[in-house]
């Protein structure tokens, strides 16, 4: 406890310890952080081993344990979906629909790109305070840790909290125009990342009659809209009749998330260590 009882000798020892913390411990933590984050960053740009440096393509089969109505095969290259195939079984008509990305189209997973950029910014911040840099005050370290943690929290949040969208936003997102054969008017698609999983949402719609007695209430923003959600697009009202969600774990996203969590904890521990001393330095004897 920071009290008046801190004697001269105690204070001297504390000052020594604080100096050691700034000179040695901080740099060793920063080194550790850099190593972890470089490892995390490497996950986002898996090089293919070939000389051209192009990122490896990985295939993921998206499915769900409860239903087999929707199946998706996605090809991910870094942050880009370069191929996608979606099979949809319509129960009502027992019809099997098949769509795939047009050859000239790719879809960027913005969440992955954002996460990668945030990690790279964190690495840049750390690299800027290399071993040769001398930290003079604790607040300098706290400031650096805050900046690094802000980037890491954002990186992690981008993956763990997918954007919420309204149904008209989903319908006009451009994703609908990427398929061949083109999507029927009563089907909507959306891709996103949730934590370590690549997810595909398929909404089946039915158009509401203009004179329908149903109480029309447009749904707000959400990651996943439940059946019954309504929206209006080009003066036509729709209601979601079925929602299918299929997903697949992306192992390297899982690794990256673990690295983020570990790094954040390291940062916080260093901050806590520094803060303990601050109550001594603020102290004025009375």
């Amino acid at each position: 406890m920071a009290t008046a009882a801190a004697s001269g000798a105690e204070r001297r020892v504390l000052e020594e310890e604080f100096k050691w913390l700034l000179k040695e411990e901080v740099h060793s933590v920063l080194k550790q952080l850099q190593d972890i984050l470089k490892e995390a960053s490497r996950r986002f740009t898996l090089p293919s081993g070939t000389a051209d440096g192009a990122t490896k393509q990985e295939n993921f089969v998206l499915g769900s344990s409860s239903t087999d109505q929707v199946k998706g095969v996605l090809t991910l290259q870094g942050d880009t979906l370069c191929q996608a195939e979606v099979n949809l079984k319509v129960t009502r008509t027992n019809q099997l629909l098949h769509f795939a990305f047009r050859d000239d189209k790719q879809w960027k997973m913005q969440q992955i790109q954002d996460a990668r950029n945030h990690v790279n910014q964190a690495i840049y911040l750390l690299a800027n305070r290399g071993e040769n840099y001398t930290f003079q005050t604790g607040s300098e370290v706290l400031k650096l840790m805050d900046a690094v943690m802000l980037q890491l929290t954002r990186a992690r949040n981008r993956l763990t909290t997918p954007a919420t969208m309204t149904l008209p936003e989903v319908a006009t997102s451009g994703l609908t125009k990427m398929f061949t054969p083109s999507l029927p008017a009563d089907v909507l698609l959306n891709f996103y990342v949730n934590v370590n999983k690549l997810c595909l949402l398929v909404y089946q719609l039915h158009a509401l009659q203009p004179n329908s007695t149903k109480n029309f209430r447009p749904a707000g923003s959400s990651v996943l809209h439940n059946p019954g959600a309504m929206f209006e697009l080009n003066n036509q009202r729709f209601e979601v009749s079925h929602v299918h969600k299929v997903e697949c774990v992306v192992p390297w996203l899982n690794d990256a998330l673990v690295f983020f969590t570990v790094s954040l904890q390291l940062c916080q521990q260093l901050k806590d260590k520094i803060s303990i001393f601050s109550s001594y330095w603020n102290f004025r004897p009375y």
């Binding site: 960027k108 805050d146 929290t153 763990t160 954040l264």
Partner: protein, 881 residues
């Protein structure tokens, strides 16, 4: 420096995004050429448009994305000039925002490898109507967009795709700028090197690495053949470009395609930063300005996190000068200097009670809470003591001249001692919920303890020592919690623990610890008996209050959903505020004293009815109004700074209170029950009670809109006269004591008049009319401020601006040396004309408030602030009780 502590870290920077704020202050400068001075301020995802003249937030908007850069861009379509803001940040597009409405108009999109934009520049073409936007993405790809006149006319249509996309391999690009002198080259500054490119085909002309340990943060062309580059630590260097980079030279482009690492070009100059460099919390922001209209000054301007602004004038004939010395600073100023120059110096709210022997600086106030029902301000200080003072009296002492200046130990106060070090937070639970005993005051300190006090007796009731870190927050659980929890307060500590401390059982009934990250938010789900803890890393812990068991710990989307679910019952406060701001003008125009009086009469009428019905009920009614007329809010500019206090005056509440008290005074026959009846009868609807209620709602609305706030920079009263503390003090002491033990209605009157006195004295335009000043002083009993009062303004979206010292002075004006002699003159200058010339919005509010309050006071009998009255009236009451 008795009071400079108010400015130790200067401006009200948000600790997390200082760089963005300052950098984005820059467009404000660019806009000085416009007729209206406006600045755009961006706080990560919130964007505000400020009227710099008035200190008023004109517009604000929130987007889901984070901005890192913004540039103002003006174009003219015919004779019409329109402003656009180009924003980039943690998203792959460039957003084009209307500079007056802050609406997103359209976006500039990349077709090829879209990625975040790290820096951007706008190239104006004087010959054609086409302007070019050049940007570099984080992966080092140069992007070019053409903005044509057609594009300007577009409103929310298809995105604009890039014209060109070329990898230039520039990692960590800090800035890109176009040579305004030759129109032929581009300068790209990266953290570890800077490069010059041909603006025609974007081929590399030269590349210069930084020296060891240096990190570049930006640069610009200062002449056709010279560039200025600045570093992270605030230094700047001027380089002469090699001949291969100068279009006028014969050897232009001779190095294209060859080895990129040229020899380092000659360093012409190094620009000297300010000598006594303090350690900055973030790199300073530097920008080069080249005046193109009236004066052709070349200025380098730098702002840093200590609140300092420095300007260097860059000479044209750089070669001829001796470059060993470097370029001297032309002018510099900082907030700290502006504060230090103030005479008299601003003081803290209880400085006269915090004077320490052997030191010049008063004790810092580290935490405070205002108790409106008693009009008391509770201040915790850095030595662990807590002081309770009447808020209006302490403010009068700090601000106004008068007899009280001569008294020692005035205002009457009470000191509580118990903490062994800094008091970090204070809570008066009765104010939040009436279920708590009104005697209880809770304080938390750096010594890990939470102490329960009896404010009436000054007794320490209990010490809780359950945390392993300094107490950071004290909270009150909602009313719907279980009975056991209802008698608890919730404490949060820096060891990431949360405690539920039962005031009744005097023990900690739950300690939720082991959170890995600092606690950011506490929420409640009383129906499920859950305490929800949100940590700074986004994780959410759900604790069962009864058993103290951790129910679950979640992250991501579920965490957000849980937190939002707790919020659902709480109405959005921000919306209400912005709504009232929209209606401000209407409210002001509709506002008339007659209307106010009518409402007051309605209230009186209800009161009178209640009085007839039961005598006791007035006690319950009267203090209800007294809650609102004055609020004292403490704010901190920095964690290590002491609290500064804002006084919020609610003129409506004050008027209602004055009128209510006037009517309830026993010897006044001004408002008879008949007239009351008439007043209620004249209002359209029959039910007087309902009418009163409706009026109250209306009032609430008006009140919100014209909430006045005054911030005090107070003076430390040094020349305290020892002899002058006469019997007055002894007189006042019993009065005070009785007021403390009996916070009854009649003493509220005293508080109301004090508030009105403080308000009128601060707002009156002293020094404009000598005759009027005299009347105010002698006959009305108003007091002259002894230091300039600093005002503030609440505007759109609840944004507040406060005047800082120097707001009415020109930066270059040299302060006169014999300040001591000029003291009186400068005070009256600073007060009268100063207040009324600074901001139109503030002046309007002040005049309206002054007139309405003065009218109210005039309509009252015996309404005077003269000390005589103030002294005798309460005494009479004391005697009669």
């Amino acid at each position: 420096m008795p009071a400079s502590h108010q400015s130790r870290q200067g401006p009200l920077y948000c600790p997390y995004t200082p760089c963005i704020q300052i950098r984005l202050g820059a467009p404000g400068r660019c806009r000085h050429t416009c007729t209206e001075k406006k600045a755009v301020l961006v706080l990560t995802c919130e964007m505000c448009l400020w009227d710099v003249n008035d200190g008023r937030c004109v517009e604000f908007t929130k987007l889901a994305c984070t901005h890192t850069g913004i540039q103002f861009y003006q174009f003219s379509v015919g004779t019409q000039r329109e402003g656009r803001l180009l924003c980039h940040g943690h998203y792959p597009e460039v957003l084009v925002v209307d500079a007056s409405s802050l609406d997103v108009l359209y976006t500039l999109v990349s077709k090829i490898s879209p990625d975040w934009i790290s820096s951007m520049s706008i190239i104006r073409s004087h010959r054609t109507q086409e302007d070019t936007v050049v940007a570099v993405s984080v992966t080092g790809i140069l992007k070019v967009w053409i903005i044509t006149a057609e594009v300007h006319r577009m409103q929310d249509t298809e995105p604009v795709f890039e014209e060109e996309s070329k990898p230039i391999y520039c990692q960590n690009c800090q800035s890109i700028s176009f040579c305004a002198f030759t129109q032929r080259s581009l300068l790209v500054v990266c953290a570890k090197y800077w490069r010059v490119f041909d603006a025609g085909d974007y081929s590399l002309l030269c590349s210069v690495p930084s020296e060891e340990g240096q990190t570049w943060t930006g640069g610009d062309f200062i002449a056709a053949d010279k560039v200025i580059i600045w570093t992270e630590d605030g230094q700047s260097f001027i380089y002469k470009l090699p001949a291969s980079c100068i279009p006028a030279s014969d050897s232009f482009r001779i190095d294209v395609g060859k080895a990129v690492e040229n020899a380092i070009p000659p360093l012409l100059y190094s620009v000297m930063p300010k000598e006594d460099k303090k350690l900055l919390i973030c790199p300073p922001v530097t920008k080069f300005f080249y005046g193109r209209r009236v004066s052709f000054h070349k200025l380098l301007i730098q702002g840093d996190s200590s609140g300092r602004l420095s300007i260097w004038s860059v000479p044209d004939d750089l070669e001829q000068q001796d470059n060993i010395e470097g370029l001297r600073i032309t002018t510099t100023t900082s907030l700290q200097e502006a504060f230090d120059k103030l005479c008299p110096l601003p003081a803290g709210i209880i400085d006269q009670l915090s004077v320490m022997p052997n030191t010049t600086e008063p004790l810092k106030v580290t935490a405070s809470v205002y108790i409106p029902s008693h009009g008391r301000l509770v201040c915790g200080r850095e030595d662990g003591s807590i002081i309770i003072v009447p808020a209006t009296q302490t403010a009068i002492v700090q601000l106004l001249q008068g007899e009280h200046m001569l008294r020692r130990g005035w205002p009457p106060h009470r000191t509580l001692r118990g903490h062994r070090n800094k008091v970090t937070c204070l809570l008066y639970p009765h104010q939040v919920s009436s279920r708590y005993d009104q005697r209880y005051l809770i304080s938390g300190g750096v010594d890990f303890s939470v102490i329960v006090w009896d404010i009436f007796s000054g007794e320490m009731k209990h010490i809780f020592c359950v945390h392993g870190g300094e107490i950071t927050q004290l909270l009150v659980p909602p009313d719907s919690c279980s009975t056991r929890v209802q008698h608890c307060i919730c404490s949060v500590a820096s060891d990431h623990s949360v405690g539920l401390l039962s005031l009744r059982e005097r023990k900690c009934i739950m300690l939720a610890s082991r959170h890995l990250f600092p606690i950011q938010v506490i929420k409640w789900r009383p129906s499920d008996d859950y305490l929800v803890v949100g940590c700074s890393d986004g994780s959410v812990y759900v604790w069962q209050m009864d058993t103290g068991a951790l129910d679950r710990c979640v992250m991501g989307i579920t965490a957000v959903e849980i937190l939002n679910a707790c919020d659902e019952a709480v109405p959005a406060a921000v919306d209400a505020l912005s709504h009232s701001a929209v209606n401000l003008k209407q409210a002001m125009t509709r506002r008339s004293l007659a209307a106010l009086k009518t409402v007051a009469h309605h209230k009186l009428q209800t009161l009178a009815t209640n009085l007839l019905a039961s005598e006791a009920s007035d006690k319950g009614n009267l203090p209800k109004y007294s809650h609102n007329s004055l609020m004292v809010q403490a704010i901190k500019t920095n964690v290590t700074d002491s609290d500064i206090h804002l006084l919020f005056f609610d003129v409506e509440a004050l008027i209602i209170q004055l009128l209510t008290e006037e009517a309830s005074r026993p010897n006044t026959a001004l408002i008879s029950p008949e007239s009351l009846q008439k007043a209620s009868g004249s209002s359209d609807k029959g039910g007087s009670f309902l009418a009163g209620k409706r009026a109250a709602v209306l009032f609430q609305q008006v009140k919100e809109t014209i909430k006045e706030n005054i911030k005090e920079h107070l003076l430390d009263d040094d020349d305290e006269d020892e002899e002058a503390m006469r019997q007055k003090r002894d007189e006042s002491d019993p009065e005070y004591r009785s007021s403390k033990s009996k916070p009854l209605t009649l003493l509220e009157y005293n508080l109301t008049m004090d508030t009105a006195k403080l308000f009128m004295s601060c707002l009156h335009a002293w020094g404009l009319n000598a005759g009027l000043d005299e009347v105010c002083l002698d006959r009305l009993g108003m007091l002259k401020p002894h230091c300039p009062v600093s005002f503030g303004l609440l505007s759109r979206g609840g944004h507040m601006s406060l005047m800082l010292p120097g707001f009415n002075q020109c930066v270059n004006k040299v302060p006169s040396e014999n300040v001591g002699v000029d003291r009186k003159v400068s005070i009256s200058e600073g007060l009268g004309k100063g207040n009324y010339g600074v901001s139109r919005a503030v002046t309007t509010q002040h005049l309206l408030s002054l007139i309405s309050l003065a009218n109210t006071l005039m309509s009252m009998t015996n309404a005077t602030f003269i000390g005589d009255h103030m002294k005798k009236a309460p005494q009479r009451y004391i005697l009669s009780y």
